[in-house]
């Protein structure tokens, strides 16, 4: 049995152990990567080098969304457990208006498309179109929320209060949490627009738009899951 000695001192290497390659770091020699990966690109623009190559904010957003998956996972599980626990005449069969909800789901889906357009405009540094598409996205999101408010009101009129049954509590909690996420997204979109207009966005603008976009797409995807599990699959 031989002793194993790993990691004797070596020259700087890439993460995979190959020698340091400046080309992989925007042409920055290793010695310039000292300030935790901040260097200067040729045009004088400050660039950030991270160990993974992903930007900090992007990585953080992905992690946050990973966490959010479990939040919605818990809420969806609760709903699935309780979805049959309602009185005879106030269950999904009586309440769901699939065409209406499909329409509002379509609206939300379209808002993902417009968000993509906003991100791509921001990538081209086309500020006018960025703001245009952000506005459209916010409006579509608003339309979805309006639809949800209308839907909730209808259900409430038909007698489905928040505390009527386990089904109603878990349904309102799940969709309510999602609605709050969409609303926060809308606030983010509007704030971003305003800040772009006044040139108040710090750091990389395109990346900021992309961040909001990531969040927005996530919220949309969650809705697709909710729509499928809650509305489309029969109890």
């Amino acid at each position: 049995m031989a002793d194993v000695t790993i990691d004797a001192p070596t020259e700087p290497t890439e993460g995979d152990g190959t020698p340091y390659d400046p080309a992989a770091h925007g042409g920055v020699p290793e010695s310039q990567l000292r300030d935790h990966g901040i260097g200067h690109a040729a045009d004088g623009h400050v660039i950030h080098h991270t160990s993974t190559g992903l930007s900090n904010t992007k990585l953080a957003m992905w992690l946050f969304l990973g966490s959010e998956c479990l939040l919605f996972g818990g809420l969806i599980s609760t709903y699935m457990l309780y979805r049959n626990r309602h009185s005879e005449n106030l269950g999904p069969d009586q309440l769901w208006d699939i065409p209406f909800t499909s329409a509002s789901s379509f609206v939300l889906l379209m808002s993902s498309l417009t968000m993509v357009l906003a991100v791509s405009a921001a990538g081209r540094k086309d500020e006018r179109n960025t703001r245009l598409w952000l506005t459209v996205t916010a409006l579509l999101g608003g339309l979805f929320i309006a639809g949800q408010v209308y839907e909730f009101t209808t259900f409430y009129r038909e007698g489905l209060g928040y505390t009527t049954s386990l089904f109603s509590s878990s349904f309102y909690t799940l969709t309510g949490f999602h609605g709050v996420h969409v609303s926060v997204g809308i606030i983010m979109l509007i704030s971003l627009m305003a800040m772009l207009g006044k040139d108040k966005v710090h750091g990389d603008k395109a990346e900021t738009v992309e961040m909001v976009g990531l969040y927005w797409h996530f919220v949309d995807i969650v809705w697709i899951v909710i729509f499928t599990l809650v509305y489309l699959i029969p109890a």
């Binding site: 700087p12 000292r34 300030d35 900090n56 996972g73 710090h202």
Partner: protein, 665 residues
């Protein structure tokens, strides 16, 4: 991000004093480098780490007083020190405080202080978010504890099983405080998890590959991933409970057709990873301490890393072993029983590796080392008793008895707390530039070890003799006679608590007298990892020159040279730690960039308990809290993480040039 020009020569720094820009047109950015403002608005990970530690220590004392009262009540049969009501609040808050307000934030203190230093970074990825985590945790902790004077604390046990947590069974506000407070501290944990994961993954110094990271960094990383995925689960449970208690929902009301086991599943899906969240940081700490004082690298570094990660994964698949008596049905019980045994394997790997690190070493028994070896021994006891209740049938005899109390105190006190104390003795000179007294430290260690074994050891006997947990009194009729009688061992446990308390007081005295100690040497322990490659306490910018890493145990390899040939390794000291650090100072980077202090984290954090009080007392308060939060969020966004050059007002007349890096960011 902006770069502040800084002369390479580290002496006689002359930086133009700058005042910060403003938010909302009139709120100037904080610039103080001394006084309370330097702490309250700081985004320096080291200051934040120290504040985490101080706050956690305060909660440790509160939780300790609660434990002391519990033990005094149980010293004799039919105790009368606490009423049933107060006793139930006491054990609920003892657990809540120790888990959420001591061990977790104390681990966060170490992670905050050490992670950037250990990976060669200047700060965490999101310094203001870091400050936010601290203040949210602190205000959340104070919020929970404010229930003591506002009608009584939560009384449902830290596991808060439904339906005992429903309003008819706990009509006071205590559980509401608990729910809202944990939601608040959960935000802190989540924010800090995201922040630290990004920091470790993205901000490593050149050459700091994943498999060269110090083991504490690794364990902290695993913990942050556990937090990232565990916190949302408990958040769902807490929201459901809040909606039930405050808005009339019936998620756990059997009358409405609910299943009370839903709570148990949600709680333990969070709760079991939580156990590893508590204990893995200490595993990381002693994996740093043992090699230093054995003068050998950690034995089987990759095995320790992967077993830590394995514990992190398997930890998600064993939650139902907390529910063997809940009536799950034999198939679930059998599966979870075997899964639980499986998790003993990676845990055993760790103990083996620590022991083999000692083997063949050159052991120096400093206080830190004593605590580390103490952890191996005491944690092994807890691990082995853990195996006895992985065996589900045997667990049905042991669960909810003092045997379990003994088990998890050996794991959490013997594991987590001893590790944290090892860390405090080891890194105290790093954080404060002064050594703790080794003489007092040894008193501290032996009193705590004797105290903990006398306190928790007898609980094995009490539990096997059938004394259940969470009983405010016990009776002589059920105590038995002979050597294993409950009366004797309950008394011994209480005496042990007194000794343990004295041990903690010795620690506090040690901290107090250390103020007057002479400055500590730069490398007092002949250390091995990167955080020692700078002065003690570290400068605000951590490293004069961002280190380039060539090896695991980089600092050791800079001091010692391998003069052996082939497989024969022989190490000769080439430089002292001081010399290595001096070399770094001599080659200081010209550009040093630091993030800017900010008011907004503490303001935002303050808004949250205001909202929580609003939920309990007055809707207007919710609005007020929300307004504070919104204002802080926008202030935060508008101000930016870094102070741009254009953000600075012109230098004040003849600005105070003695301040280094004023508001530098």
């Amino acid at each position: 991000m902006v770069i502040i020009e800084r002369p390479a020569d580290s002496t006689a720094v002359a930086v133009p004093a700058v005042t910060a820009s403003s938010t909302y047109g009139y709120l100037r950015r904080p610039v103080q480098t001394t006084g309370w403002r330097a702490w309250a608005f700081s985004v320096d990970h080291k200051k934040i780490g120290i504040m985490y530690g101080v706050a956690a220590m305060a909660f440790f004392l509160i939780g300790g007083i609660e434990a002391g009262l519990i033990r005094l009540q149980l010293a004799q049969p039919d105790g009368t020190i606490l009423s049933a009501e107060k006793y139930n609040q006491m054990f609920t808050m003892h657990a809540t405080t120790m888990v959420f307000l001591f061990v977790m934030p104390m681990a966060a203190a170490f992670a905050n202080f050490l992670l950037p230093l250990q990976i060669g970074a200047r700060d965490v990825a999101f310094p203001r978010l870091n400050a936010l985590s601290l203040w949210v945790f602190l205000f959340g902790g104070i919020f929970i504890n404010s229930s003591w004077i506002l009608g009584g604390a939560a009384d449902g046990g830290w596991f808060m099983y439904a339906p005992n947590s429903a309003v008819p069974y706990s009509p006071t506000n205590g559980i509401d405080f608990w729910v809202l407070g944990l939601l608040i501290t959960g935000i802190a944990s989540l924010a800090s998890a995201v922040n630290l994961i990004v920091t470790v993954l993205n901000m490593r110094a050149p050459g700091m590959t994943l498999m060269r990271m110090p083991i504490f960094t690794w364990m902290a990383l695993v913990v942050q991933f556990l937090l990232l995925f565990a916190m949302p689960v408990i958040t769902v449970a807490l929201f459901l409970l809040m909606f039930q208690r405050n808005f009339g929902a019936t998620f756990f009301s059997v009358e409405a057709g609910a299943d009370p086991l839903l709570w148990q599943h949600l709680f333990w899906i969070f709760g079991h990873p939580e156990v590893y969240i508590l204990v893995l940081p200490s595993f990381g700490i002693i994996s740093e301490v043992l090699p230093v004082f054995s003068r050998k690298p950690l034995f089987g570094y990759p095995f320790v890393v992967f077993s830590g990660a394995a514990i992190g994964f398997v930890g998600w698949g064993v939650w139902a072993h907390h529910m063997f008596a809940s009536g799950l049905g034999p198939v679930s019980v059998a599966v979870f029983s075997v899964a639980t045994m499986a998790i003993a394997v990676p845990t055993g790997v760790k103990i083996v590796n620590w022991t083999l690190t000692l083997w063949g070493g050159k052991l120096r028994f400093t206080t830190a080392m004593l605590f580390a070896v103490g952890l191996i021994v005491e944690f092994t006891v807890g691990g082995l008793s853990g195996v006895t209740h992985a065996v589900a049938p045997s667990d049905t005899q042991q669960t909810d008895t003092y045997y379990i109390v003994a088990h998890f105190h050996y794991v959490l006190f013997g594991g987590a707390v001893l590790g944290l104390f090892a860390g405090m003795y080891y890194w105290w000179p790093k954080a404060f530039g002064r050594m703790l007294s080794e003489r007092l430290g040894k008193w501290n260690f032996w009193l705590m070890i004797i105290g903990m074994n006398l306190t928790f050891g007898p609980m094995h006997i009490l539990g096997l003799q059938g004394q259940p947990r969470r009983m405010y009194v016990w009776t002589d009729y059920r105590a038995g006679e002979g050597f294993f009688n409950g009366a004797l061992w309950n008394m011994v446990a209480t005496i042990g608590t007194v000794i343990l308390t004295i041990g903690v007081i010795v620690f506090l005295v040690n901290v107090w007298v250390s103020r007057k100690h002479p400055p500590a040497p730069a490398d007092p322990w002949d250390a091995r990892s990167l955080e020692w490659l700078t002065t003690s306490p570290p400068k605000e910018h951590n490293f004069d020159r961002t280190p380039t890493v060539h090896a695991l145990d980089e600092f050791f390899h800079r001091k010692y040279e391998d003069v052996g040939e082939g497989d024969q390794h022989e190490y000769v000291q080439r430089m002292t730690g001081e010399q290595v650090i001096a070399e770094e100072e001599a080659n200081a980077d010209a550009h040093i960039h630091l993030p800017a202090p900010s008011y907004w984290p503490i303001v935002l954090a303050f808004g949250l308990p205001v909202m929580a009080y609003g939920v309990l007392y007055n809707v207007l308060l919710i609005a007020a809290g929300a307004a504070i939060v919104l204002m802080a969020v926008y202030g935060w966004l508008l101000e930016g993480a870094d102070a741009h050059e254009t953000d600075y007002d012109p230098p004040a007349d003849g600005g105070d040039s003695s301040k280094e890096l004023v508001a530098s960011g």
